[in-house]
């Protein structure tokens, strides 16, 4: 196994006094698709937000491309090639589709390539090109997810974390978005899929981590993990 692009060791995150993530340890090998699954309330989102620099961790260590990035704020991590597509897409609702995408190329290294990036995103999601002058508030849920994904791609990240990308979307749209994610991965970007919908995530990902109540309780190659084993870890039986 190659050196992991992202290494998380004993990461802990709190909301005030409330311990949200107790201790999370996981590796993400470079160039792969990795899934992090867990039931509602397993603190998957909190873990992702802590890795991506939106929350400060209270203990533990995060290493990205060999560099210690523990506690580094989100705006600096984007420059280093780590992007998060947050839960619920979080588009800038008062801005047009294209302005949302251009915001994605805000980091200095991405600005020179903005035209090329836009073409790439529009080719990946042709519907966005049609609607590029509309405000994102007028889009459907699936289209907003596409904007959020495209916006993250505009920064040419090495690693993208997708937080519950399929939440609330119709199966056909999920299927389409997953196909695009595989394309993105085929282009060399490492992908982390955080999902409640376990089957599709496990099928797509080479490696799977299962979270339960703020801890990573099971890790391994998706193919080698037994269904029974995953179920036990998922529900804490």
């Amino acid at each position: 196994m190659s050196e992991p692009i992202l290494k998380v060791e004993g990461l802990q995150a709190k909301y005030g006094d409330f311990l949200a993530v107790e201790s999370a340890t996981l590796d993400v090998p470079a160039g792969k698709i990795v899934s992090v699954i867990g039931a509602n309330g397993a603190r998957k989102s909190t873990l992702m937000e802590t890795i991506a620099g939106i929350h400060k961790p209270s203990a533990g260590k995060v290493t990205f491309k060999g560099e210690d990035i523990t506690g580094m704020p989100a705006e600096k991590l984007v420059l280093r090639g780590l992007s998060l597509v947050p839960q619920g897409s979080r588009c800038f609702v008062r801005m047009s589709v294209e302005d949302n995408l251009i915001m994605g190329s805000y980091p200095k290294h991405a600005r020179a390539r903005v035209k090329e990036s836009l073409d790439f995103v529009y080719q990946l999601f042709p519907v966005l090109k049609e609607k590029r002058h509309q405000p994102t508030s007028s889009l459907s849920g699936g289209q907003r997810q596409m904007v959020a994904i495209g916006r993250a791609l505009m920064a040419w990240p090495d690693l993208i974390l997708f937080d519950e990308i399929s939440l609330g979307l119709a199966p056909a749209i999920i299927k389409d978005i997953y196909a695009r994610i595989r394309e993105i991965n085929a282009g060399g970007t490492t992908v982390v899929l955080v999902e409640q919908d376990t089957n599709r995530a496990i099928r797509t990902a080479e490696y799977t981590h299962v979270m339960l109540k703020g801890r990573v309780v099971l890790s391994g190659r998706s193919k080698e993990l037994g269904e029974e084993e995953i179920k036990k870890a998922y529900f804490g039986l």
Partner: protein, 282 residues
């Protein structure tokens, strides 16, 4: 009929200045989510800056913008990053109270520095008027200030729409966390936004100094007009700001010297009661 058209013209000319008074406050309100109670004093500082510089250098007050705008931009960035960003950690009320403290400090500092004397920025064309058909007329001074106001608002609009920093400011006002995921430093953006607000206050101050006499204590009046423009126009909305400025300008022209302010205040209270989120916000 002529009287009505003349009032409309005067209202529009006045409204543009009011919009300029409000535009910086509106930005801070919409982006930093802060009511800057020192905005009136910022405007008066701009007025003193332009008036005194033009006297000292013997140039047209408009040219002094070359100095006042950048100086006040930097001052705004410093005030935000050194002072206000720090107290915003404690919530929005302490930040409001800090701007309140700033406002009383600045007001009395102006009084100490420049005494209570009335001031005015003099221009050679201060009494010139353009005669229009049907007995209508426009003061050249008012027209110049109108042009300056609209130009400033136009430049601001273009900046917000087409530059990376402008987009970052809009994105931050929509969703701070999502903006930081794009690589935007929220604190730095707040600093730039306050810098821009203060730069618009510098231009607004020039307009105030050219059209009216002002005192160190005039800030409060302009703050309330600015706030009124923000409330009626909706926070962060530039078209809204323009319309709100116009509404206030007309109210002022119709009410005249005695009742203009009173009508404006009543209008504002009514607006707040009926549509507390502004006419133009969604």
């Amino acid at each position: 009929m002529t009287v009505v058209i003349q009032m409309l013209i005067n209202g529009i000319l006045l409204g543009s200045v009011y919009a300029l008074l409000g535009v910086g406050m509106s930005m801070i309100f919409g982006i930093v989510r802060l009511t800057n109670l020192a905005h009136g004093e910022f405007i008066i500082i701009g007025a003193y800056g332009s008036t005194l510089l033009s006297l000292a250098l013997g140039v047209d007050p408009i040219l002094t913008l070359v100095i006042t705008v950048p100086v006040m931009f930097i001052a705004g960035v410093l005030i935000q990053t050194v002072l206000i960003n720090r107290v915003m950690l404690q919530g929005s009320e302490p930040a409001l109270l800090v701007t309140f403290g700033l406002s009383i400090i600045l007001k009395d500092a102006l009084l100490l520095l420049f005494t209570a004397d009335a001031r005015h920025a003099n221009v050679p064309y201060s009494t010139a008027t353009i005669r229009l058909p049907a007995g209508l007329h426009i003061a050249v001074l008012d027209l110049v200030v109108f042009a300056i106001s609209l130009a400033t608002i136009l430049i601001l609009t273009l900046f917000l729409r087409y530059t990376y920093m402008g987009r970052a400011i809009r994105a931050t006002s929509d969703d701070t966390a999502a903006a930081s995921l794009m690589g935007v430093s929220v604190r730095r953006t707040y600093g730039i936004a306050m810098g821009i607000a203060m730069a618009t206050a510098a231009v607004a101050g020039l307009g105030v100094g050219m059209r009216w006499t002002f005192y160190p204590s005039s800030g409060g009046d302009y703050l309330l007009i600015a706030f009124g423009v923000v409330v009626i126009g909706g926070m962060g909305s530039i078209p809204g700001t323009l319309v709100a400025g116009l509404i206030f300008g007309l109210a002022q022209v119709i009410g005249g010297a005695n009742y203009g302010m009173l009508i404006s205040y009543l209008l504002l209270i009514l607006m707040l009661a009926v549509r507390p989120q502004g006419l133009f916000s969604k």
